[in-house]
Subunit: 352 residues, 2 copies
Amino acid sequence: MKTIQAVTYPVHFQKESYQELSNILKIKNYSTIFILVDENTIEYCYPKFIPNLETDKTIEVIEIDSGEINKNLETCIGVWNVITELGGDRKSLLITLGGGVITDLGGFVASCFKRGIDFVNIPTTLLSMVDASVGGKTGVDLGVLKNQIGLFANPEMVIIDTDYLTTVTEREIKSGTAEIIKYGLTYDVNLFNEIKDNKNLNINDLIFRSVEIKNEVVLQDPKEKNLRKILNFGHTLGHAIESFYLESEDKENLTHGEAIAIGMVCECYMSSKLLNFPKEKVIEVKNVVLTIYNKINLLKVDFSAILELLKHDKKNVNGQVNFVLLNDYEDYKIDCKVDESLIIESMEFYNL
Amino acid sequence: MKTIQAVTYPVHFQKESYQELSNILKIKNYSTIFILVDENTIEYCYPKFIPNLETDKTIEVIEIDSGEINKNLETCIGVWNVITELGGDRKSLLITLGGGVITDLGGFVASCFKRGIDFVNIPTTLLSMVDASVGGKTGVDLGVLKNQIGLFANPEMVIIDTDYLTTVTEREIKSGTAEIIKYGLTYDVNLFNEIKDNKNLNINDLIFRSVEIKNEVVLQDPKEKNLRKILNFGHTLGHAIESFYLESEDKENLTHGEAIAIGMVCECYMSSKLLNFPKEKVIEVKNVVLTIYNKINLLKVDFSAILELLKHDKKNVNGQVNFVLLNDYEDYKIDCKVDESLIIESMEFYNL
């Protein structure tokens, strides 16, 4: 399969990727290779990966606990201490093998260790393949606030091998599907239509096209001044809902995609009220979302806590929440202000 | 006084600086101005600074505990939480007002908050004026390992106002003097001679020349591939000694300059053994150091712990410690390997 050249690094696809990895290992002559995994990827992905790693250097595996709840600075401190104890130096390489928590946190850990060591990302979930593989965003959460601490840093390369998708749950695949829907609604409606029609879906093609879109967007607007903001579609309210469920002890967590799917329905609704986004398309998006994801009942009593979390969104300026809304499919408007009453109305619309 | 244009930002000197700060505040239209201080700088420096700050924006002061012991990720997490609670967003500005702990940690905090906000450094100690003001290094310690976590990030500007030096102790002034000696030995022996002769010393001129030298070095080698390594002269062994005293509960901490001064004496000694650095100059450097700093008795029983700490130096590659040594004043050699026995011998020479 082809390679996509991202801003300053390549995204390689499928088994040919490993030859590229071997090449870079030869050229860069790293001192030690650290591989960051969690308890799932060490069991299911590491055995698939390790036969492909051609090197005579020392390999050290560092395992952290899986889950968004562990994507924090305490985990980073633990990893930095282990790398230090194992003699990591500026010529060390960190390979991340896992979902978004592993790739985001690992990229941050590598970028700050001794002011920066090289890293290679190998996303193993659909979400991290289509979302985290391009764009150079690294980071961790601060309390329940997602990706509050982090920086822009580029891996040496990204490897997308869809063989790893056989190791994850159907729920995780659905989580990643939400991001593909987002690319469809904001940039290429064919993607959305394919998922809507749900016939002969070729996951490899969907991933390749998603990465291609994200790369085009990021290349045009690396620092998120304008176009790149479309990647936040569904995420402004979606993140607040995700954070709310994460911090609610009596509620089961939502996956990122489940929360973002709700966010997209609500933000389509806002778009129909504030812009000219057609009502029937709001219905269409909601139907597709409810075909894929279980309906969540957003409780009225929780709305104020969700609105409170919205105030900490990274895109806010001067305390003002900024939404990306749609005039139509593939036609966005950035920096939209939305009254609290309409945000609540949109959640009530989702609940209907 | 003049302005020095560092890599991507200016270093302004004396009272004229504040006009430059006012200008940038007008242009950038920040949402909130956070000022990072410690319990000393809030009492002694803040009152000098605040009348110079022309803005109608909200100003929030964040105080942390002073001292190297607090230059860690726990302190960062505290500051990030406070900024978050106070509604900090991507258009916030962080002004650091303090010594190296405040400027290094503050730069790191700013660079990682929501993937980076602007910051302005106002060093208030001699050490931070001549050392931390140029070069874009930010970071914090990991345990006793200095600056293990951090990154290269540039402030919007640096303000050097020597009026703040009236607020610090003589011991701190001496700590900064060690860095000026370093610039003298490695790059411009006039600086060293002025300090050696100790007649009509003009501290403003010494600072200006030191910043000028550091800037020339960093401009030529921003990523520390070659020339910039001279800035580590005295620091390789010096950092290990500093870390050792920091972690020893029964010993009083050394200042950075006190430790680096010992490191310079020892590394001059190594230079005389491995290169052609003249013996009489080793004696000369030792005499100048002992005129300024109290003699420390490095105990034989502590040597192995100090050597152990050397192994974690950031400049090490493949477990090999790399020293910058001198062929002569102003004539350096990078990446020198030194046997443990000679390192010990050099500490015994210092002890004589």
